[in-house]
């Protein structure tokens, strides 16, 4: 072995280098936590199986119930019915013991929707009688546009905006409850059992299966970056790093796909997908489905009844 270089002593800095200020790693940290959040339902498995009537139910029943209620939500017009739908979804979440952080996307959707439709509350978009005046430009001009007498929030506007926000939140809540109470591979297995083409569901299942692998690879990339980041690199170098990361993940995907293809061939796969027979529905699965139908009917009735 050649002798150790002279500069490779402990803690030896080149002469004259001042310590640099640490860079903000907020974006990296945010991505890392997003990857972690995505990995959690895929990897954290039956370690602590939360047993409840909802978790235990057949995924087909849950899929049908959730999808059905979401479709019904898109058919509801009135605010009372939509609010009831949202309350129903949140109630099921509470009953099933869904932790609050799994419902965070619902809050995010509600907030984002509220911001997006905020202009729709104004009379310039939705028309109607003013409710709360916001601005009085008194027929002035702003560039090419002629301004109205007053810009105000109207009842109609609130109705229109409220509709969207409530509906988006209700749908998001239903989807979140479904995702939080069903393990991913069971959910996808439920799709197959509902009659979707086997090849398609097998691909979907395999996507979920290898998503964890690729996410872990992406996480390692980000951790390696975090461990070596001292100062900001500048936009171009950062973009180059992202590109290299994306490329590395692609290379990994391709290699893994080749190997999986060989592994499938080695066990006799010739192109036709054959899967296990799904279990039959039990009493509680029918009860869940029936409950969903009843809830849907009730919501529609409320909706048609109200103005």
């Amino acid at each position: 072995m050649t002798a150790l270089p002279e500069w490779l002593r402990l803690d030896a800095m080149p002469p004259g280098t001042p310590p640099r200020a640490p860079a903000g790693n907020r974006a990296l940290a945010r991505t890392l936590s997003a990857i972690g959040r995505a990995l959690a339902p895929l990897v954290c498995d039956a370690g602590s199986p939360r047993v409840g009537p909802i978790e235990d139910a057949d995924p087909r029943a849950k899929l049908v119930a959730a999808a059905g209620l979401i479709v019904v939500a898109t058919l509801l017009h009135g605010l009372p019915a939509l609010a009831a739908c949202l309350a129903l979804a949140l109630g099921i979440a509470a009953f099933a013991g869904v932790p609050a952080r799994r419902l965070a996307p619902v809050a995010a959707v509600a907030l984002a929707s509220a911001l997006v439709v905020l202009p729709a509350t104004l009379n310039v978009v939705s028309g109607g009688a003013p409710f709360l005046t916001v601005w009085r430009p008194a027929r002035g001009t702003l560039g090419p546009w002629r301004l109205p007498e007053a810009v105000a929030v109207t009842r109609e506007g609130l109705l229109v905006a409220g509709r969207i926000v409530l509906r988006a939140a209700a749908c998001a809540a239903l989807a979140a409850v479904l995702a939080a109470t069903t393990r991913p591979h069971r959910l996808l297995g439920g799709l197959r059992a509902l009659g979707l083409p086997q090849g398609f569901v097998m691909v979907l299942a395999m996507t979920e299966r290898y998503l964890a692998v690729l996410l872990q690879a992406a996480r390692e990339l980000h951790l390696a970056r975090l461990a070596r980041t001292v100062s900001a690199l500048g936009v171009r170098r950062e973009e180059a790093w992202v590109a290299a990361g994306v490329g590395a993940v692609f290379r990994r995907s391709r290699a893994l796909a080749e190997e999986v293809a060989l592994a499938m061939a080695a066990r006799g796969f010739v192109g036709e997908v054959r899967l296990l027979r799904p279990a039959r529905w039990r009493g509680r699965d029918w009860a869940l489905a029936a409950g969903a139908v009843a809830a849907a009917a009730a919501l529609l009735l409320i909706d048609r009844g109200a103005p």
Binding site: M1, L42, V43, C44, D45, A46, G47, R183, P184, H185, L188, G189, A205, M206, E208, R209, Y210, A212, V213, L256, E259, V260, L262, A263, M264, A265, A266, R267, G268, F269, V270, R274, L275, L276, R277
Partner: protein, 283 residues
């Protein structure tokens, strides 16, 4: 007696790359335990892929019980499905081998491809889970398993097909001791029932458990030794030349220890280190 595998004059290169196998010929009789050893990159893993008909050699041929493994042979019934049922391949990368959503479905995959009845499939799954001591993992997703658990599931998914040959690619790499010993125990028991084993590895400590015969591949991708395990492993010059041991390894019987590069260290075992030129100790 027809040999199980007959490899003759095989050359192989991946597309656009230099050859990774250069003129390989040997035969594997039924019931043998063969080890393909060589340093990383010597081509032993690729050779296993060729034995399983996953790639076709650029030159030469690979035959299974007298039938050459060609695309046509493998896609024709009954040879194709029979071959897949009889020959099991344990991949080095368990992530590639476990491609089904749950452990149970993974075990069911092979039998379902063969078209066996649901009851038979279910029975075999149960018993394979019990054999590999992974019953509690039945409904788990592969992403949630440790390396040892994955390897056991992978082996179980092969055993449900009741193969007569197992091709193993670095079977114990990265395994915890308990998984490793269970694996070796099962393989020995299966061999007693007549299973043929072909293992590719660079870990010489496995060989007493897995091999009666050893083929050594050099870094130039050729066969440089083919014979009984004892004599081949005694040829330390050869092992040094093909980068399977390094100058500070020493032999202890049929085992090979490695020690870090330290010239001044007291050995308790009572044997000398084998540096180039020194006589290996007896026994």
């Amino acid at each position: 007696m027809t040999p199980l595998f007959a490899v003759s004059g095989v050359r192989f290169a991946y597309a656009g790359q230099p050859p990774c196998l250069d003129g390989i010929s040997f035969e594997v009789p039924v019931g043998e335990r063969l080890a393909l050893v060589g340093a990383n990159g010597s081509g032993k893993s690729t050779l296993l892929h060729l034995l399983d008909g996953l790639y076709a050699p650029s030159e030469g041929s690979v035959a299974y019980l007298g039938t050459a493994l060609s695309q046509r042979a493998l896609s024709s019934a009954p040879f194709g499905p029979r071959f897949r049922q009889q020959v099991g391949f344990l991949f080095q990368n368990s992530d590639a081998q476990l491609f089904c959503p749950t452990v149970e479905e993974e075990l069911a995959f092979g039998p379902l491809q063969m078209g066996w009845g649901a009851d038979e499939v279910a029975r075999r799954i149960e018993e394979a889970l019990a054999l590999l001591e992974i019953g509690r993992l039945r409904g788990r997703a592969p992403a949630a398993l440790s390396a040892g658990e994955k390897k056991r599931v992978a082996l179980a998914s092969l055993l449900v097909l009741a193969p007569s040959v197992l091709l193993l690619d670095e079977p114990t790499a990265g395994l915890d001791p308990r998984s490793q010993s269970l694996l070796l125990e099962i393989l020995e028991a299966l061999h007693a029932r007549g299973l043929t084993l072909v293992t590719a590895t660079h870990d010489l400590t496995l060989l007493p458990h897995l091999a009666d015969r050893v083929i050594v591949l050099s870094e130039e991708h050729r066969v440089v030794a083919d014979g009984e395990a004892g004599p081949v492993l005694a040829d330390t010059d050869l092992l040094l030349a093909v980068n399977l041991i390094h100058a500070h390894s020493h032999r202890h019987g049929r085992l090979v220890h490695s020690h870090p590069h330290r010239h001044v260290v007291a050995h308790d075992h009572g044997h000398d280190s084998v540096a180039g030129g020194e006589e290996p100790p007896e026994g």
